[in-house]
């Protein structure tokens, strides 16, 4: 059996007395379209932070294609192809949209350490950043300062930055949260158009989106995996309905 793209074994994380991740055994396959759902505070974002190296786990392992990356630095994981978007925008707010994407593409192409050449003369970086903005229909805003954009557009910049890293594993933390429904299709289209071989893990509270997009769903409750299966199985699971789907209308 070949190793899965990304795997965790008995992954746990405690913040003091609070167990935000408990004994999570999780697999993300190549080309997966996987969703992670769960009530507020279930530990979904914490799980992504563990995968990307923002936090080190209290216990357990993270493996990328069978390779142990549990204690690896964030930047090194990015170099291996793990990219993410943040639930709450983390952008270079004072810089232009183009500059934001430039930053990501420059790091991927190894331009970031270059000192003696003007940034604008790295045409490869600029071109690729512009192409990405075209795909996400952001090129009209390329020169705008990020802080001037409406929140929905800023979400797109988040996605553009992650895509600029050409990831193998893409972790999307509620990518469409706060995006007006008239624009959310741009994000979903972009996600749907990703190269087949990328493994995508998406967190979202929008059940329509989740059930349409995902081929597999993991339900997280209280930091532990509560259920996992195909959308059909999860949709039919009475326990899941009780703890989560039924409550989602209130959350």
């Amino acid at each position: 059996m070949t190793d899965p793209l990304l795997e965790t074994r008995a992954l746990s994380k405690s913040f003091g007395a609070l167990a935000a991740a408990r004994d999570i055994n999780f697999r993300l396959e190549r080309g997966a379209r996987h969703a992670l759902i769960g009530p507020n505070g279930a530990g979904k974002t914490t799980f992504i932070n563990l995968l990307t190296g923002v936090f080190l786990p209290t216990q357990g392992k993270v493996l990328l294609e069978g390779r142990d990356i549990t204690t690896m630095q964030q930047s090194a994981r990015v170099k291996l192809g793990i990219a993410r978007t943040f639930q709450i925008n983390r952008l270079f707010r004072g810089l232009s949209v183009l500059d934001n994407v430039y930053m990501a593409v420059a790091e991927r192409l190894g331009a970031g350490a270059q000192m003696m050449k003007p940034a604008g003369m790295r045409n490869d970086v600029v071109e690729e950043a512009m192409r990405l903005l075209d795909v996400l229909k952001l090129s009209d805003y390329a020169g705008h300062r990020v802080s001037e954009l409406p929140y929905g557009r800023q979400r797109l910049v988040e996605l553009a930055i992650a895509l600029g890293l050409e990831p193998q594993v893409l972790l999307l933390d509620e990518p469409a949260a706060g995006v007006p429904s008239t624009e959310s299709h741009i994000i979903l289209d972009a996600v749907a158009a990703l190269p087949k071989q990328i493994g995508v893990l998406i967190i979202d509270h929008d059940m329509d989106l989740v059930f349409r997009f995902a081929e597999r769903i993991t339900v997280l409750v209280g930091g532990a995996i509560f259920a996992e299966g195909t959308p059909k199985e999860i949709g039919a699971d009475q326990r899941v309905r009780d703890v989560y789907l039924g409550k989602a209308h209130h959350g």
Partner: protein
């Protein structure tokens, strides 16, 4: 993936990025003014030399503080390291050729910047501020106690600095050579810093300042970039210190003092940090004002300076350059609306 070339020319934002580093028409102006000063005020070249050294020192701080967001109150550590390196080598008869001496000063400062940066730059905010302060205090105390080598409290006077290129004599009373020499070094360092801040490396420093977490998440080796930047900044501060020692032909504890570190910080905030020319404007305004105020109100001039700083901190966070930008934007916006109302609805 090799896609066809993207036509950057058809997009204004891309074009702006591609051309961002181009020289603007006014950029030769400071250098013309500096040369004009040389001819117009032959009796104030001592002041002028001091001003140029201060600009270089502020420029080095701008790289660390303004671009990378490294909050430091101890930058005089590197100024002093450069000054004492040049001073001690000359005083003890080991080495006194000016240009290579300057490079040695830069190297020592860079080494201290690198070593301390490896540890300090893991911290941020107040901790970082305190640690930079401590590093400087340590060096100052070392210079104070190592009397045999550093001259202790009195410093090292009458440094024997040979003529520049074996031709141009440094005359402490009539510092024409010093002025041009410092101007030349400042120019070279400025070209270097300017290149650096417009490079992808410089952009990544801005990225770290704007949002460290995001910078980690795009795979940038943040700590390494900061250490590199801090080391370069230290080297340039060391050059400034070395110039100071050579131009004055002495070195003393003031080069390592909190007073110097705080003054350069004030100058940078006054001029506008992270703007490249903030160092120039800040140094000119600060030194001209303190010069002027000290003559008019010999007893209370620092009060006036302090008052102005409070005003800047309250109303012009981005310094004089920021103020100028704001005014220009206002005027341009006004012009645009006037043009729009004139041409009427289209």
């Amino acid at each position: 993936m090799s896609a066809p070339a993207y036509d950057l020319g058809r997009h204004p934002a891309a074009l702006a990025l591609v051309n961002r580093h181009r020289l603007r028409v006014w950029e030769p102006l400071p250098w013309i003014l500096a040369l004009a000063f040389y001819f117009a005020f032959p009796n104030h070249l001592g002041f002028g030399t001091d001003l140029l050294v201060t600009i270089l020192f502020a420029l080095s701080l701008d790289l660390a503080l303004g671009y990378a967001g490294i909050v430091t109150l101890g930058h005089a550590a590197f100024f002093g390291a450069g000054a004492y390196t040049v001073g001690m080598l000359a005083h003890h008869g080991i080495w006194n050729e000016p240009i290579s001496g300057l490079l040695m000063g830069a190297s020592v400062a860079a080494l201290i910047g690198f070593a301390s940066g490896l540890i300090l730059l893991r911290t941020t905010g107040l901790t970082l501020l305190m640690l930079t302060l401590c590093t400087m205090a340590l060096l100052e105390e070392a210079a104070n106690m190592g009397e045999k080598y550093t001259g202790g409290f009195d410093g090292l006077p009458n440094l024997p600095i040979p003529p520049l290129f074996g031709l141009f004599e440094f005359n402490p009373l009539y510092p024409r050579v010093q002025y041009l020499y410092v101007l030349g070094v400042l120019f070279l360092c400025f070209i270097f810093v300017r290149t650096l801040v417009y490079s992808p490396f410089g952009r990544s420093l801005t990225g770290i300042r704007e949002n460290v977490l995001r910078m980690h998440a795009v795979g940038a080796p943040v700590n390494w970039r900061l250490v590199t930047c801090y080391t370069i900044s230290a080297a340039i501060a060391g050059i400034a210190g070395g110039l100071w020692a050579q131009a004055n032909a002495y070195v003393n504890l003031s080069t390592l003092s909190l007073d110097r570190a705080a003054t350069v910080l004030i100058i940078l905030v006054l001029g506008g940090y992270g703007r490249l020319y903030g160092a120039f404007i800040g140094a000119v305004v600060y030194m001209a004002l303190s010069h002027f105020l000290a003559q008019v109100y010999p007893t209370a001039w620092q009060l006036g300076l302090g008052l102005m700083l409070v005003l800047i901190a309250l109303f012009a966070r981005n310094g004089v350059i920021g103020l100028w930008d704001m005014l220009r934007n206002r005027l341009m916006a006004k012009g645009a609306t006037m043009r729009a109302t004139k041409s009427g609805p289209s």
